[in-house]
């Protein structure tokens, strides 16, 4: 048999290994050239899904921001107690009627606090959140603050006297509009949840400053659990 046939045959066999190797590699490593649509089906229809790019508008948004000065139904914001935490010209000491003070509300507040606030203020509210710690490190860097970082320590919500004396309405207002160096969360958190968080902050302040005398007489540890 002429040698050439043997070589050609062997090379052909080796070439057969290339496609499986390519497939294995594509499967194993993330890459930017996927997905490949061999059969298009109706994968791409001429409709705009949420947050898609829409070339018809100057800002290329599919979701249109509301027209200036338009007021949506139910969003009149005239309820000063619910939206600003103010009643009779002073911060409210109680929750608005739309948000009843129940265990469910406080549990909701705890969950939302841990999502939105604990990154800076810490889960117990004493200011030891991971973002706060990292920001302090960036400021304290030996070669000067990294990338111009400036940072005011996130307040200790449960021990700082200037915060613990605040009525729930004032805390609600700080969440909604922000305060000095803290951004406002009014657009990110629905109004009921902001009240739940404010109520939970008051709860934290109470529990973090608890004294033995707060425990009803005769309660054992097992009962408290």
């Amino acid at each position: 048999m002429p040698r050439i046939f043997i070589y050609v045959g062997l090379i052909a066999l080796l070439c057969l290994l290339i496609p499986p190797a390519v497939i294995a590699r594509v499967r194993a490593t993330p890459n930017p050239n996927l997905p490949i649509h061999i059969i298009q089906d109706m994968d791409f229809q001429s409709k705009f899904k949420t947050q898609a790019v829409n070339p018809l508008f100057a800002d290329r948004r599919t979701i249109r921001p509301p027209v200036q000065n338009a007021v949506a139904r139910g969003e009149t914001y005239v309820d000063g107690l619910l939206y600003e935490g103010v009643t009779d010209g002073a911060w409210t000491q109680t929750l608005p009627p739309q948000v009843p003070l129940t265990v469910a509300t406080l549990k909701r507040g705890q969950e939302r606090f841990n999502i939105y606030c604990s990154v800076c203020h810490g889960e117990t509210g004493n200011g030891d959140g991971l973002v706060n710690k990292r920001a302090m490190e960036l400021v304290a860097n030996t070669n000067g603050p990294v990338n111009g970082t400036v940072w005011v320590t996130a307040k200790n919500l449960v021990h700082d006297e200037t915060v613990t004396v605040q009525p729930v309405g004032q805390i609600f207002s700080s969440i909604t509009h922000g305060i000095r160096n803290m951004a406002g969360y009014g657009s990110q958190i629905p109004v009921e949840d902001r009240w739940a968080i404010a109520a939970y902050v008051k709860t934290l302040q109470r529990s973090q400053n608890a004294r033995p005398s707060d425990v009803p007489a005769g309660t054992t540890l097992a009962e408290a659990k």
Binding site: T29, P30, I38, A183
Partner: protein, 232 residues
């Protein structure tokens, strides 16, 4: 012994010199048979593996306009997914955050970083940052985040360990077969709703199968397999 043949045959065979396969070709015959048998198998395997959504769809990792890292924010800084993707519990869509959300921190932290130049520009001009969509179903398929995360299907089941990714890539094939696999047998992939955004938490380690079955029973979780669930 020469046999007598018709005259016409003799004439053509003299004109065209007859081709005879050389004797060594006999040795090739078995190989040809083997190749003939294996080739269809090879082709089938090639199509099955090469054209599968696990190859063509999973692993998609586009480059994003801003080098935003989930490993830093969700992993190292421990941020909850819902801080940014805050519509995920109410809506079908898991909103990618507005620039304002980034600026909650980045007006102060790394405020002059060149990596954040596009974020600052977006904040000033009001033009959105055009993040490249990583997960996309065919436009004829309907998906709903709220229906899953409020019933105890964790982000990690479908998106993998996002909190360890520098750049998000697609872990799952997002094919119909993949959806149905879970819809038919969800028990092993359910967790308490409180752990949905905790990607490090693994229900197979933390809970027994009985506990998961109990979870499914208590909340009456029965994912639909009707076509109209996802094609509407």
């Amino acid at each position: 012994m020469v046999q007598s043949r018709p005259a016409s045959f003799l004439r053509t065979s003299q004109a065209v010199s007859r081709f005879l396969f050389p004797r060594w070709t006999n040795a090739i015959l078995p190989f040809v048979l083997v190749v003939g048998a294996v080739a269809p198998l090879y082709a089938v395997m090639f199509v099955a593996y090469g054209f599968s959504p696990k190859t063509l769809e999973a692993g998609y990792m586009p480059h994003q306009p801003v080098p935003y890292s989930h490993a830093t924010h969700a992993g190292k800084l421990g941020m909850d997914c819902r801080y940014c993707h805050n519509s995920v519990e109410q809506a079908s869509f898991a909103a990618v955050p507005a620039t304002q959300t980034c600026m909650n921190c980045h007006t102060q932290i790394h405020k002059d970083s060149p990596k954040l130049a596009k974020v600052r520009a977006s904040y000033e001009t009001g033009m959105p940052i055009e993040w490249v969509k990583v997960h996309k179903l065919g436009d004829y398929a309907y998906f709903n985040h709220a229906a899953h995360v409020n019933r105890g299907v964790g982000c990690v089941e479908c998106h993998g360990r996002v909190d360890q990714m520098e750049e998000v890539y697609r872990v799952a094939p997002l094919s119909m077969g993949w959806c149905l696999e879970c819809h038919r047998e969800p028990v092993d992939r359910l967790r308490p709703v409180s752990q949905v955004t905790n990607l490090a938490w693994d229900q197979k380690k933390e809970m027994t199968r009985e506990q998961r079955e109990q979870l499914q029973k208590t909340f009456n979780i029965h994912p639909n397999e009707n076509c109209s669930t996802c094609h509407r």
